[in-house]
Amino acid sequence: MGKTEPVVGLVFFPAFDWCITPDHPERQERLLYTRDQIQEEGLFDHPRIREFRPRLADPGEILRTHVVLPSLERNITESHRIAAGGTMVAGDLVVDGVVDRSFALLRPPGHHANRIVHGARGFCVINNEAIMVDHLRSRLGPDLRVAIVDTDAHHADGTQDIFYNDPGVLHISLHQDGRTLYPGTGFLSERGGPAAYGQTVNIPLPPGTGDEGMLMALEEVVLPILEEWQPDLVINAAGQDNHFSDPITNMGFSAQGYARLTDLLAPDIVVLEGGYSIESALPYINVGLLLALAGLDYSKVREPGGGRRSQSREITRQVAEICRQAKELWDTRGQVDLKEVFGSGPFFERRRQIFYDTDQIMESQQEYIRLCPSCPGWRVIYTSSTRNRTPAAAVLLPWKPCASCQGEAREQYGELEKDQRFSQVIWQEPKSGAGQAPTNLRGSEPR
């Protein structure tokens, strides 16, 4: 564990002048009551809670992570750039040692945004935490090990997509079972790509799961996995829509449960995701979360309508079984014959249809990953959608590509560029600067 009296950096950006539509859950006043509650509880005045201003993300910082069609300008608003920039500020504050932990309490959210972006899905266009992870790797070098624990009620399909073949990232998502909620994915069987098999961990929880079930999943699956994987940074994508009062989900968490989760997980960086019970839940969850992050007493935080909800015995039994399976899949990830899962090459092919609920777009994608023995392998993705009908192609290099993958990818890019069938051919190559030594990573001091 870190310090007992951590200093918390709060990057608060409620975007009081931005919404999807005025009565959409993602609307101007979503964080208004949260601001009032934090202010009234005096947390802005606490010496260990310091507020920081967000910044605008540069287009280059977004396009390091995403391929945006037909262009970045056509898809994002200034508010998206500020949310992504604010999340990077939160990351920088921690790795630079300005604060011990940080909380990017901002909107719009990002965890449903895939690597390829044709529009908005699940209220998200660009993925704040993924952009931050790539930003930190570009600063500190590609060997940074980052764990993302997503506790939103919705499966973090976008973050999973971006990192599913990335050995530097461990992605764990706890969520309401995809058979009962958008986006309909996040099953135990989704375990990651050939270069990061087992590093995608999904824990689908039955509707009605309360604090007890969530804390069980945390203690029996998430914490042991983190202990074993030893990340340099733990990021919590903190959705707040598992709350019993949330209007668009069916879970039973309480503000106390969220605070306890934060306390046990002890994340370095917290990034807000969803959560639309803006009066009855968010103010209390955020106050509890901030108190827990700062190592302060959160036991008195109570939302209206009475704290904890008990869950049925049947749910407890189901959660225990899911936890057992998830842990077993993790423990046996090294014993799986990857040839059986991904074939014996030279490429693994994946075809998908992706629905953008917010913008009502359907995307068709075909992806080829080079099964390379010495690096995660280069990739090519062909994509078209009901918005961008002429297909585009993207050639992607992983972090730390081998020389032969670099050569092959370049050759492929050259050929595609000559091909008239594509509206655009995009080259994406993550690069790392002359990384300066990070000062505040877990690896540098015993946990």
């Binding site: 950006f13 009081f16 605008l56």
Partner: protein, 334 residues
């Protein structure tokens, strides 16, 4: 504020000293720039305040007294322990740090320890006390450090200006770091940087030109520097402010400054314009009641408007409007 008002709400008089200084500056300055920096150099401390678009900046959450935020409106000032009577600390590496504590009366005025004022006196930058005493003391200290008295005196002045410039930079950094909550503000952050330096206090004529040079800004040292504070208090006209909170779901509006709560007659038709004109009307009435002029200009300090949605349905709106009589300072010179 008026005398009667100070009897009714004595808490609002806290930190009136620095406020008077800034009003004195507004009454006396001939600078036309919308943004400028006010530097009040004293014997013990130097106070900094910022004027933006012709208005002195106020603390967002009110005056801070002994670490407590009081919510009492107060001018935003930052005080540093740097003045004519400050202590000098020579570091082994040949550096010099001035302050933050006071050394006492300068040697040239009969004190016992070397101060920045002695350097001023010895270099004849101003007529202060006994120049001979100051020079002798600098010579003695200079011998210890292997410097001529003149080189030492110049080092002291330079260090003073350097520390002052650093304090100015950190004030503006702090101001620029204040959180912004809307896209509009982040895209067009207010320009707070000063376009001129206005100085007051006894040591101002010596240090302000040098500070302005370091900051590459034009400057002005106020006449009657030492009394600017009192002039400000006399020249300032009384001001008043008031806040209207309205909730159309509850059909109630409250004005905490008046201790009033009342019904909103037709909540469906109540909007931000109505909230604003109501606030202005009440403030005008209050000003009249308090015997302040009717012609005072009213301006909106802050306003917010939010919908309240429950279960995907708009159930009402919430407004907050804060209005104030524009603080007027009568010009003392043209």
């Amino acid at each position: 504020m008026t005398l009667e008002a100070s009897v009714e709400r004595p808490i609002e008089t806290i930190l009136s000293g620095p406020a008077a200084s800034t009003m004195g500056v507004q009454a006396l300055t001939s600078r036309q720039e919308p943004n400028y920096l006010i530097v009040d150099i004293g014997g013990t401390t130097t106070d900094l305040a910022a004027v933006v678009e012709g208005e002195v900046l106020f603390e967002r959450d009110g005056a801070v007294i002994a670490g407590y935020r009081t919510l009492v409106p107060a001018v935003l000032t930052r005080s540093i322990g740097l003045g004519g009577d400050s202590e000098l600390h020579f570091t082994p590496e040949g550096g010099l740090v001035i302050g933050p504590r006071r050394a006492g009366t300068p040697l040239c005025l009969g004190g016992e320890r070397l101060t920045p004022t002695d350097a001023v006196s010895a270099l004849e930058l101003a007529q202060v006390g006994s120049r001979a005493k100051a020079q002798a003391a600098l010579e003695a200290k200079g011998r210890e450090l292997g410097l001529s008295w003149r080189a030492l005196a110049e080092q002291i002045i330079e260090a003073f200006v350097h520390q002052l410039a650093q304090a100015v930079e950190s004030l503006y950094r702090e101001l620029e770091g204040m959180p912004l909550y809307t896209v509009r503000e982040v895209l067009n952050p207010p320009d707070l940087r000063p376009q001129a330096v206005v100085g007051l206090g006894a040591p101002a004529p010596v240090f302000i030109p040098k500070l302005a040079e370091a900051l590459q800004l034009p400057h002005e040292v106020l006449p009657h520097s030492a009394g600017a504070n009192a002039i400000g208090a006399a020249a300032a006209a009384a001001t008043l402010s008031l806040t209207v909170h309205a909730d159309t779901e509850l059909a109630k509006l409250t004005i905490p400054e008046l201790g009033q709560q009342e019904d909103i007659p037709r909540p469906l038709f109540f909007d931000l314009d109505k909230a604003r004109s109501l606030a202005e009307e009440r403030l005008r009435e209050l000003a009249k009641e308090r015997g302040l002029g009717e012609s005072e200009e009213i301006y909106v300090v802050e306003e917010e408007s939010f919908q309240m949605v429950r279960g995907f349905r708009t159930v009402g709106k919430r407004f907050m409007v804060r209005v104030q009589l524009r603080p007027q300072v009568r010009r003392v010179r043209g």
